[in-house]
C-alpha cells in the first residue's frame, strides 16, 4: 500500500480547520488564522498537482485507490481517481485558496469561523470527487450542506435566512430519494462499490426508477430548470467566497454525478431519459438566458447564466458522444474558473460601493481600467469567445449535439447568441457609458490581493483556451472507455 495521497487530500483541510479551532480568536487581528488556512489550502493544491503529474493518462482504471473496511461486511471506505474526477479535484484545490485570499475584503466578522467552514467544505468537496462507494459519496455529498448553510446564513446578505433555508431544504429533498436508491442498489446487487457495480451492471428493469431517484438529487444540485430557483437566491445572499465555491465547485458535483453514476450505472435508463434531459437542458439554456437578460442585479444575472451554462453541460453529457462528454467536462472546468472570476469581479465593486445593482454603475472604465480589462476577459470567456476555455467546452458540446440530434443542437446554438447578448450588455452597462453616479469616482483600482486572484484565474482561462490538450489528454481515455462500456451494455440488453 502506497502513501494514502487521496485521504490526505481529504483530511488535510480538516486538520487545518481543527488547528484553527484551537487557536485563540483575537478580535481585529486574524491574519494568523488566514495564513494558516492559506498555507493548508496551498499545500493541498500542491499535493493535487503532484497527483496530476503522477497520474497515468494511458489507462481508464481508477488510480491511487484506497480500500479499507469501514462498516464490517457492508461498506468499504473506497476512494480513487480516474481521468474524469482528477480535474475536479484540482479545480477544488485551486479555487479554495483563492477564496481564502478574497475574504480579506468581504468578510468582516468572525473570520476564523468562516475559514473553518471553508476548510471543512473543501474536505467534503474533494471527498465527493474521489469517493468510489455510493454510500461514501452520499456522505460527502450531503455533509457539504452543513458548512454551506452556515456560510450563507451567518455571513450572507439581508435575505440570508430565507436563502440558506431554501438552499438546504431543496438539496436535502432531492437527495433523500438518492439515499433510497443507493440502499436499493445494495439490496439488488449486494454491493455499493462503484467499480464492482460497473462490472456487475444493474438489472435493466430497476434502472429507470433508480435513475430517476439519482436524477432528482442531481437535477436540484445542477440546477436544472425548473428546480433552479434556489440558486439565484443563494448566490445573491452568499458572501463572495461562498458564491464562488457554490458556482465553481458545488454545481459541478451534480455534473460529475451524472457522468459517474447516471451514465455509468444506468446505461439503459440513460438512453430512455435522454429526451427528458434534452428538453430540460434546452429550456434551461433558452429560458434562463432570457431571464438573465432582464436582471437588474449583477449577481443574479451571473447566477442565471450559471443555470444556462449548466444546461449546456447536461446536454453534452447525454449526447453520449465522445465530444459531448469531453466538452461537458471542459465546460464545467471552464465555468468553474470563469464564474468564480465573475463573482469575484462583482465582489470587487460591491466591496467598494455596496451595491450589486447594474444601474448604480456605468462608465467605470476610466476610473478603474485594470479591473475593466480583467472583467472584460472573463465576460468574453463566459460567452465563449474563441481563445478562452469557454469556447472549447461549448464548441465540443455543440459538436456532440449535432451528431446526435440536429434540432436540439440548433436551438442550443441560439443559446450561445443569447449568452453573448446578456454578458455583453451587462459589461456595457457596468463599464462603459456615461459616468452618472458621482460616488463612483472615489473607487480605487484593484488592490494587490484582488489583482493576484483575478490574474490567477485569467491565466488558466486563456491557457486552456489556446491549448486545451492537457485537459483533453487527461480525460480522453476515461471518456472513451465510459462510452464503450455504455455501448456494450446497451448492445447486450
Amino acid at each position: 500500500m502506497n502513501f494514502p495521497i487521496l485521504s490526505s487530500l481529504i483530511l488535510l483541510p480538516t486538520v487545518g480547520a481543527l488547528f484553527l479551532f484551537f487557536t485563540k480568536d483575537k478580535e481585529g487581528n486574524n491574519s494568523t488564522a488566514k495564513y494558516v488556512a492559506l498555507f493548508t489550502t496551498i499545500v493541498n493544491f500542491l499535493i493535487s498537482i503532484y497527483l496530476w503529474i503522477s497520474f497515468d493518462q494511458s489507462t481508464s482504471n481508477f488510480q491511487f485507490v484506497e480500500d479499507r473496511t469501514w462498516i464490517e461486511g457492508f461498506i468499504n471506505y473506497k476512494v480513487g481517481v480516474d481521468g474524469i474526477s482528477i480535474l475536479f479535484i484540482i479545480l477544488t484545490t485551486f479555487i479554495t485558496p483563492l477564496c481564502i485570499i478574497s475574504v480579506n475584503n468581504s468578510v468582516k466578522n468572525r473570520l476564523r469561523d468562516f475559514l473553518i467552514a471553508i476548510l471543512i467544505m473543501e474536505s467534503f468537496m474533494i471527498g465527493v470527487f474521489c469517493a468510489l462507494d455510493l454510500v461514501v459519496f452520499y456522505l460527502f455529498f450531503e455533509a457539504g450542506l452543513i458548512p454551506m448553510f452556515l456560510i450563507i446564513g451567518i455571513w450572507g446578505g439581508p435575505k440570508r435566512v430565507y436563502s440558506a433555508f431554501k438552499f438546504f431544504l431543496y438539496t436535502l429533498l432531492g437527495s433523500v430519494l438518492m439515499l433510497v436508491a443507493i440502499i436499493s442498489i445494495y439490496w439488488i446487487s449486494g454491493t455499493t462499490d462503484v467499480i464492482q457495480l460497473y462490472e456487475l451492471g444493474i438489472d435493466a428493469k430497476y434502472q429507470n426508477l433508480l435513475w430517476l431517484a439519482f436524477f432528482s438529487s442531481f437535477a436540484v444540485k445542477t440546477p436544472m430548470w425548473p428546480v433552479h430557483t434556489w440558486l439565484p437566491d443563494a448566490h445573491v445572499e452568499a458572501p463572495t467566497a461562498g458564491s464562488v465555491l457554490l458556482a465553481a465547485i458545488l454545481l459541478k458535483m451534480a455534473g460529475y454525478g451524472f457522468i459517474r453514476f447516471s451514465l455509468g450505472l444506468f446505461p439503459v435508463a440513460s438512453e430512455v431519459f435522454t429526451p427528458l434531459i434534452y428538453t430540460l437542458s434546452v429550456i434551461a439554456i433558452i429560458f434562463t438566458s432570457f431571464i438573465a437578460l432582464m436582471q437588474e442585479d449583477m449577481k443574479k444575472l451571473i447566477a442565471y447564466s450559471s443555470v444556462a451554462h449548466m444546461g449546456f453541460v447536461t446536454l453534452g453529457i447525454f449526447t453520449l458522444q465522445q465530444q459531448g462528454i469531453e466538452g461537458s467536462i471542459i465546460q464545467m472546468i471552464s465555468h468553474g474558473l470563469v464564474s468564480a472570476a465573475l463573482f469575484l469581479c462583482v465582489g470587487v465593486v460591491y466591496d467598494r460601493m455596496h451595491s450589486r445593482m447594474i444601474n448604480s454603475y456605468g462608465g467605470i472604465v476610466t476610473i478603474i481600467p485594470k479591473y475593466s480589462i480583467l472583467f472584460m476577459l472573463f465576460t468574453l470567456a463566459a460567452l465563449g469567445l474563441p481563445g478562452t476555455s469557454g469556447f472549447i467546452g461549448e464548441f465540443l458540446i455543440l459538436m456532440g449535439a449535432f451528431k446526435d440530434n440536429f434540432l436540439v443542437a440548433v436551438i442550443a446554438s441560439l443559446g450561445v447568441i443569447l449568452g453573448a447578448a446578456y454578458m455583453l450588455w451587462l459589461y456595457k452597462r457596468v463599464v462603459f457609458g456615461k459616468l452618472v453616479n458621482e460616488d463612483l469616482k472615489k473607487m480605487f483600482d484593484l488592490n494587490r490581493s484582488e489583482y493576484l486572484i483575478l490574474s490567477c484565474l485569467a491565466v488558466p482561462t486563456l491557457f486552456f483556451g489556446f491549448y486545451p490538450d492537457p485537459l483533453i489528454n487527461t480525460i480522453e481515455v476515461s471518456v472513451t472507455d465510459l462510452i464503450n462500456m455504455h455501448n456494450t451494455n446497451i448492445a447486450s440488453k
Binding site: 456522505l139 450531503e142 440558506a164 433555508f165 438546504f168 436535502l172 433523500v176 430519494l177 433510497v180
Partner: protein
C-alpha cells in the same frame, strides 16, 4: 434450583432502594448521601449485569416467566447508564428549585427496577407488574416540582391517561389469555395460530397500550404537556429511559407471542410509524418551547424506531435498537445544553432564549449545532447512521412507501431543527448565561457530543454488539 445470579441485578437494586429509603428517613439532611449512594448502586448494578448476564445467550427463570438474553442485558445496561447520567446531571437543577430530596433518587431507582423487570419479562403478569412499578414512580416524578402548577398538572395528566392505557393493555392481556390459556409468551406463541376476530382485538388493545407508553401517534397527546410541565431533568428521564424499556417490550410482544399473527399487526405498526414520523415533523414546526419541541421530535424519532420494527426481520429489530441507542445519546446531549441555559438561578426554556447564543457561548452553540444536525439526520453525524440502518432494513423488505415517507418527513423535520440553528447562529444576541456548570453536566455534554461527531469513524462496534440480538 434456579440460577439466581441471573436476576442478581434486580435483587441488588431492590435491596438498595429499601436501604436508601430507610437511611433517608432516619438520617437528617441525607439528600446528598442518598444521591451519591444511589449513583453507586446503579453503577454496581450495571457491573453485575455485565458480569452475570452479558455472555448469556438465552436463559429462562421462574417457570419461564423471566427471560435473560442478549437483548435484555443490552437494554438493561443502556437503561442503567441512562438513569445514572440523569441522576448525575440533575442535582444542580434540583437544588435551584429546592427539591433536592431523598425521594428523587429512590423514585428513579424504583422506576429503573420496574423497567428492568419489564425488559426481562416473558410473561404477561410479570410484564404488567414491571410496567406499573415504573409508571407509578414516573407519575410522582412528573409532579416532583409540586409548587409549580404546571408540574402538578403534568403529573395528573400523565396519571389519568397512563392509567387508561394500562387498563386497555390489561384488557388486551386478558383477551389473549382467554384464547391461549396461558400468560407465558412462549406458550401463547405456540397456541395462537388462528385468525379469530376477538384475538385481533386483544392484540390491538395491547398495541394501543404500548403505543401510548412510547407516545406513538395517535396516542401521543400526553407527551407535549407532560414533557413541558415536568422538571427538566425528569423530562430528560422521560425521553430516554422508559422509551428503551417500552421498546424492548414492544419487540418482545411482537416477535414472541404474536409472531404468527404478523399479518394482523404489521399494518398497525406501519401506520403508527408513518403517522408518528409525519406528525412529529409537522407539529414541531410551530412550537416555541424547547421542551414541547423535543416532545414532538421524540414522537418523530419513535416513528423511525417503529419503522425498523415493522420489517419483521432481525435486521429491522437491530436497526431499531441502534436507533434508540443513538437517540438516547443525542437526547442526553440536547438536554445537557438545555440545562446550561441558566441565568441567576433561573432556567430558560423558550427557543427565543437561544437567540444569538453563538456570540457569547461559541462552544455551547457548536455542540448544539452538532446535536441538531445529528437529530435532523445529516451525515456524517451519528443521527444519519441511525436512520440509515433503519431504512436499510426497511428497504430490504421492499417497503418503499414506508422508506420514502420516512425520508421525506426527515426533510420536514430538518426545517425545525434548522430554525433553531438559525436562531442560535443568525439572530441577535441576548444576555450571557451563567457558565459555572457542574462538572458532570460539562462531562456528559462533551462526551455525548464527541460520540455523535465521531461515530462515523468507528461505526462497526455498535453494530457488532447489537448483532448478537436474534429474536426471530
Amino acid at each position: 434450583m434456579e440460577n439466581l445470579n441471573l436476576v442478581l441485578p434486580e435483587i441488588f437494586i431492590s435491596l438498595s432502594i429499601m436501604f436508601l429509603l430507610v437511611l433517608g428517613v432516619f438520617k437528617k439532611n441525607s439528600s446528598k448521601m442518598t444521591f451519591n449512594l444511589s449513583l453507586f448502586a446503579i453503577l454496581i448494578t450495571a457491573i453485575i449485569t455485565i458480569n452475570e448476564t452479558f455472555s448469556v445467550s438465552r436463559e429462562t427463570l421462574f417457570n419461564e416467566s423471566v427471560v435473560i438474553d442478549s437483548m435484555s442485558s443490552l437494554m438493561k445496561i443502556i437503561t442503567l447508564i441512562g438513569g445514572f447520567l440523569v441522576l448525575v446531571i440533575s442535582s444542580s437543577y434540583l437544588k435551584t428549585f429546592k427539591i433536592y430530596n431523598i425521594e428523587y433518587p429512590v423514585l428513579i431507582l424504583s422506576s429503573i427496577l420496574g423497567m428492568m423487570v419489564m425488559i426481562s419479562a416473558n410473561d404477561l403478569i410479570v410484564f404488567y407488574m414491571g410496567l406499573e412499578l415504573q409508571s407509578l414512580a414516573l407519575y410522582v416524578l412528573a409532579t416532583y416540582n409540586r409548587d409549580q402548577l404546571k408540574s402538578s398538572e403534568a403529573g395528573l395528566k400523565y396519571f389519568v391517561l397512563s392509567a387508561l392505557s394500562s387498563g386497555l393493555l390489561l384488557y388486551g392481556c386478558s383477551l389473549v389469555y382467554g384464547f391461549s390459556g396461558s400468560t407465558n409468551f412462549d406458550i401463547i406463541s405456540n397456541q395462537l395460530n388462528s385468525n379469530e376476530y376477538v384475538l385481533t382485538f386483544g392484540i390491538v388493545f395491547i398495541l394501543v397500550g404500548l403505543a401510548f407508553k412510547i407516545s406513538a401517534v395517535p396516542f401521543h397527546m400526553w407527551a407535549p404537556d407532560v414533557y413541558e410541565g415536568s422538571p427538566t431533568t425528569v423530562t430528560l428521564f422521560f425521553t430516554m429511559v422508559p422509551k428503551i424499556a417500552a421498546l424492548t417490550v414492544f419487540i418482545r410482544f411482537l416477535y414472541v407471542p404474536f409472531l404468527n399473527l404478523i399479518d394482523q399487526w404489521q399494518m398497525i405498526i406501519i401506520f403508527l410509524s408513518i403517522a408518528s414520523m409525519v406528525f412529529g415533523a409537522v407539529a414541531a414546526i410551530g412550537q416555541t418551547n424547547i421542551k414541547r419541541l423535543i416532545a414532538y421530535s421524540s414522537i418523530g424519532h419513535i416513528g423511525y424506531t417503529l419503522a425498523g420494527l415493522a420489517t419483521a426481520s432481525n435486521e429491522g429489530i437491530q436497526s431499531s435498537i441502534i436507533y434508540i441507542s443513538i437517540y438516547v445519546v443525542m437526547n442526553l446531549a440536547l438536554f445537557s445544553c438545555l440545562l446550561m441555559l441558566r441565568r441567576k438561578d433561573q432556567y430558560y426554556e423558550d427557543i427565543e432564549d437561544l437567540s444569538g447564543l453563538s456570540k457569547n457561548h461559541p462552544l455551547l452553540s457548536l455542540c448544539l449545532l452538532v446535536i441538531l444536525f445529528s437529530l435532523a439526520g445529516i451525515p456524517p453525524l451519528a443521527g444519519f447512521f441511525a436512520k440509515f440502518y433503519v431504512f436499510k432494513a426497511v428497504l430490504e423488505q421492499s417497503m418503499f412507501f414506508l422508506a420514502i415517507v420516512g425520508l421525506l418527513s426527515t426533510v420536514v423535520a430538518a426545517f425545525y431543527y434548522l430554525r433553531i440553528i438559525k436562531i442560535i447562529y443568525f439572530d441577535k444576541e441576548k444576555d450571557k448565561y451563567d457558565t459555572d456548570h457542574s462538572l458532570w453536566l460539562k462531562f456528559s455534554l462533551t462526551v455525548s457530543t464527541i460520540l455523535i461527531l465521531l461515530y462515523f469513524i468507528f461505526p462497526s462496534q455498535l453494530i457488532e454488539v447489537v448483532s448478537r440480538i436474534n429474536i426471530i
